[in-house]
């Protein structure tokens, strides 16, 4: 099937032309409950999947937004490459991961998801197909629309296609355990890939050349372990109420102490990053977890669940005046994912 982004965009543009159009892009639904629910009656748009172009020697890949992270990983893996998106559920689509802007647990070393995006093609609320960025690894031509699309929860445009930066997969990838203070471990190490701490145990991921892993492990005084911390985050998916706290990295310890007062909450902190994944079977837990985050000048994004009327963001969005004007620039009539973000 010949699926070009131009062809795919045609029906999306058609739909968005309608005066009363209300649409929401739907990927695999792994994060359909993240942020706020869209208004009732939105038309679901599904973007097809497909690898448009992978240029292994240039380390860039262009995909249709409906491509799942698993499909992408398989194709890139054949060439020893990857894009470290790392969603907890790899059925998540590229469009969904970018729209939610949720970085994976290797962010400490590999950076946030927004840094992997080179070019996007989106249909905005004006029903026009627009391009932002460029297909090469370095580019400052024009305004940085790709960065704006990442984390916009589909409220600025329906992502149709994206070009991403690939990286060579590390020759080795090893998990370690330690009883030491995770913050001290972080200071002692050079570039750990991930330091996950559940309040009791610390699980450290090191990637690199064989000898580098040994070197880093020695710096952190770590012991190699069979189990690993990413399983903690994976396990959290079985709990109905999930959120993601964002605090300044130094405030992770204090936030974790506050969270520890609630025995129903499971927490996994990304030390050095400032993300804390919380999950619980108790419907009120997200309310308490949000209070803990706010007390440390952070915030909590709902990933799923929480009590009726629980807002996805809490205190609204930052710089709401400017954010509102940006929203109007791309979607003046509020056709895209209405309700999803408090704007």
């Amino acid at each position: 099937m010949d699926l070009t982004f131009e062809r795919i965009a045609v029906p999306i543009i058609e739909t968005l032309r309608g005066d009363d159009a209300r649409v929401v892009a739907h990927g695999s639904g792994t994060h359909a409950a993240t942020a706020n629910p869209v208004e009732f009656g939105c038309e679901e748009i599904r973007v097809p999947s497909g690898i448009v172009r992978h240029d292994p020697a240039d380390m860039t890949v262009t995909v249709l937004a409906g491509t799942t992270c698993r499909e992408l990983a398989d194709v890139l893996g054949e060439h020893g490459q990857e894009v470290p998106l790392d969603p907890a559920d790899d059925r998540a689509t590229i469009g969904g991961v970018l729209a939610c802007g949720l970085s994976g647990t290797r962010r400490l070393r590999l950076g946030p998801v927004r840094d992997a995006v080179l070019e996007v093609r989106v249909v905005d609320g004006n029903a026009t197909l627009i391009k932002g960025g460029g297909p090469v690894v370095k580019n400052v031509t024009g305004y940085d629309i790709p960065r704006l699309m990442v984390g916009s929860f589909g409220t600025l445009g329906v992502i149709v296609q994206a070009t991403l930066r690939c990286r060579p997969k590390a020759p080795s990838q090893r998990w370690y355990r330690t009883e030491r203070d995770p913050f001290a471990v972080r200071q002692a190490m050079f570039k750990p890939t991930s330091i996950l701490w559940n309040g009791h145990e610390t699980s450290v991921l090191i990637e690199g050349f064989e000898q580098d892993c040994d070197d880093e492990a020695a710096r952190g005084n770590l012991t190699e372990a069979a189990g690993n911390g990413s399983a903690w985050i994976f396990d959290a998916r079985s709990r109905s109420h999930r959120g993601r706290i964002s605090v300044r990295p130094t405030d992770v310890r204090a936030t974790m102490s506050r969270l520890a007062m609630d025995s129903s909450v499971h927490c996994v902190a990304e030390v050095g990053v400032g993300t804390i994944h919380v999950s619980s079977d108790d419907v009120e837990a997200l309310v308490r977890a949000r209070a803990a985050a706010v007390a440390e000048s952070g915030w909590l994004l709902r990933e799923s669940g929480g009590p009726l009327g629980f807002d996805g963001f809490g205190d609204g969005v930052a710089n709401s005046g400017l954010a509102g004007r940006v929203k109007s620039a791309f979607d003046p009539h509020g056709k895209l994912a209405p309700g999803r973000m408090p704007l």
């Binding site: 240039d58 690894v137 024009g142 940085d144 990442v150 600025l156 070197d215 400017l322």
Partner: protein
């Protein structure tokens, strides 16, 4: 703003009428704020009088970004140059925009950290200017350009409000306005404080010099390295002309008879560094390197880098004028594009040198000439636009790090459709509803609201003191 911090003497105005690019403008006044509040009052006063204003750091920009058009007020941030805090625990630094790029790393290196983006102009350019242009540098290959290192910025928006975009926490609720602002070339407001990420100094660093008998072999080596999954910390290329010029200028120990050299840096932990140094050597020889030399000590390493960083100083000795271009192509296309670029220079009878960030395909064709020669500027401009078209045709972009400014504003349609430009116009209108923040930059005319009624009156006497 206090006495003496706003001026309009002719000499001063002339000094601020252009940046390091080729085009000039004209300023009506220049001011030197010391705080965000100073900047905000300048912006508000300018807005009240309908006068455009331009943020300026050191004015080393090459695209005319800081060049005042329409008798703009120039707001210079060089007196806001404090390093406010260095936090080695969170691995970040808070600085004012006028801090020089190199000064920041000078402050942090002894503490075991550095600020990764290192433009070749780093001794002179400011962090605020780097945010303005989303600057790159040799060491951005592995660690990313400015945007990937900026966590949070305090900005004076064109509406006169002071806002913080981004955060020290990893995610900010709402849109990535920080990301939109970085690289906006002063058109979205003026940043007054920046929190940047610091990187740990690598335990091991090795610098290699590979020399080649042809530019093609050097280009093929670059593609070969990338394809083999080697991501050096830096991978820079210099062709024969520039290598000789640099050698004459600083004596960096480059081979004078090479057709091209690659300067490659590998850093990290010992094991990986050793492995990658071997890989670079092997891939270099496989692609026809004549010699691969690893700097034996820190002094030799510094000297190799001094050569690369003195390239522009070296040129000043050869010809009175130069025009430095900036475009990016996919790394797989380097060899072919370089061939076409040399052909363009031959056709236009111009001397061309190439010194560039090869690892990310960021070309910097440099035309050297004597501007007094009749008709030469026409040939320089003709060659420039042919080069840019060649890069776009190869799947590249107009600018990799210098920005669009005035220089490439009218070339934007080469890369973007009308719909793309209209979307960018709406975005910039959202930030700058009055259209006074560095107007007529980045976007060609016709894509913003109310563009036509932006002609300004001269600065009323006494407004700034």
């Amino acid at each position: 703003m206090g006495q003496g911090r706003a001026r309009n003497e002719p000499l001063e105005l002339a000094l601020y009428s252009r940046d390091a690019g080729v085009q000039s403008g004209a300023a009506s006044a220049v001011c030197f704020p010391r705080s965000a509040d100073d900047v905000a009052s300048a912006v508000r006063a300018a807005t009240r009088h309908g006068i455009p204003y331009v943020a300026r750091g050191s004015g080393t920009g090459l695209a005319g970004g800081a060049t005042p058009l329409d008798d703009a007020l120039v707001i210079v941030t060089t007196q806001m140059n404090r390093v406010i805090a260095i936090d080695t625990h969170d691995q970040l630094a808070m600085v004012e925009p006028g801090v020089l790029n190199l000064d920041l790393s000078r402050h942090t290196r002894p503490l075991g950290f550095h600020y990764a983006p290192d433009p070749s102009s780093q001794q002179a350019c400011t962090i605020g200017g780097n945010v303005g242009t989303n600057a790159g540098g040799p060491h951005c290959l592995a660690s990313g350009v400015t945007s990937a290192h900026v966590l949070e910025i305090e900005v004076v928006l064109p509406t006169g409000e002071i806002a913080r975009l981004g955060s020290l926490a990893p995610d900010t609720p709402g849109y990535d306005l920080r990301g939109a602002f970085v690289g906006s070339e002063g058109t979205m407001g003026i940043c007054t404080q920046v929190a940047v990420r610091l990187m740990p100094n690598p335990p091991e660093v090795r610098t290699l010099l590979l020399d080649f008998m042809s530019v093609e072999a050097a280009g093929a080596t670059v593609s070969g390295l990338i394809a083999a999954g080697i991501v050096p910390a830096a991978l820079e290329m210099m062709d024969a002309e520039i290598t000789r010029a640099v050698e004459d200028f600083v004596g960096a120990g480059y081979p004078r008879d090479a057709a091209a050299v690659l300067l490659c840096e590998i850093d990290g932990l010992a094991g990986g560094v050793a492995y990658q140094v071997d890989a670079v050597r092997r891939i270099g020889y496989e692609h026809g390197a004549r010699n691969v030399r690893v700097a034996a000590n820190e002094a030799e390493r510094q000297l190799l880098w001094k050569g690369r960083k003195s390239a522009f100083g070296a040129i000043a000795r050869i010809a009175p004028d130069y025009y430095l271009h900036d475009a990016v192509v996919p790394r797989t296309k380097l060899v072919g594009v370089l061939e076409s670029i040399y052909a363009i220079a031959r056709e236009q009878q111009l001397t061309m040198m190439n010194v560039f960030h090869a690892g990310d395909g960021n070309l910097h064709p440099l035309i050297v000439f004597d501007g007094r020669e009749p008709g030469v500027w026409d040939r320089v401009h003709a060659a420039g636009s042919q080069i840019l078209r060649t890069c776009i045709d190869a799947g590249g972009v107009l600018s990799g790090e210098h920005g669009v400014g005035m220089e490439k504003r009218d070339l934007m349609p080469l890369q973007f459709s009308n719909d793309d430009l209209a979307a960018q116009g709406r975005l910039i209108d959202a930030f700058d509803p009055d259209g006074l923040a560095n107007p007529r930059k980045v976007l060609p005319s016709g894509w913003r609201c109310g563009e036509l009624n932006q002609r300004s009156a001269p600065v009323p006497e006494g407004t700034w003191i």
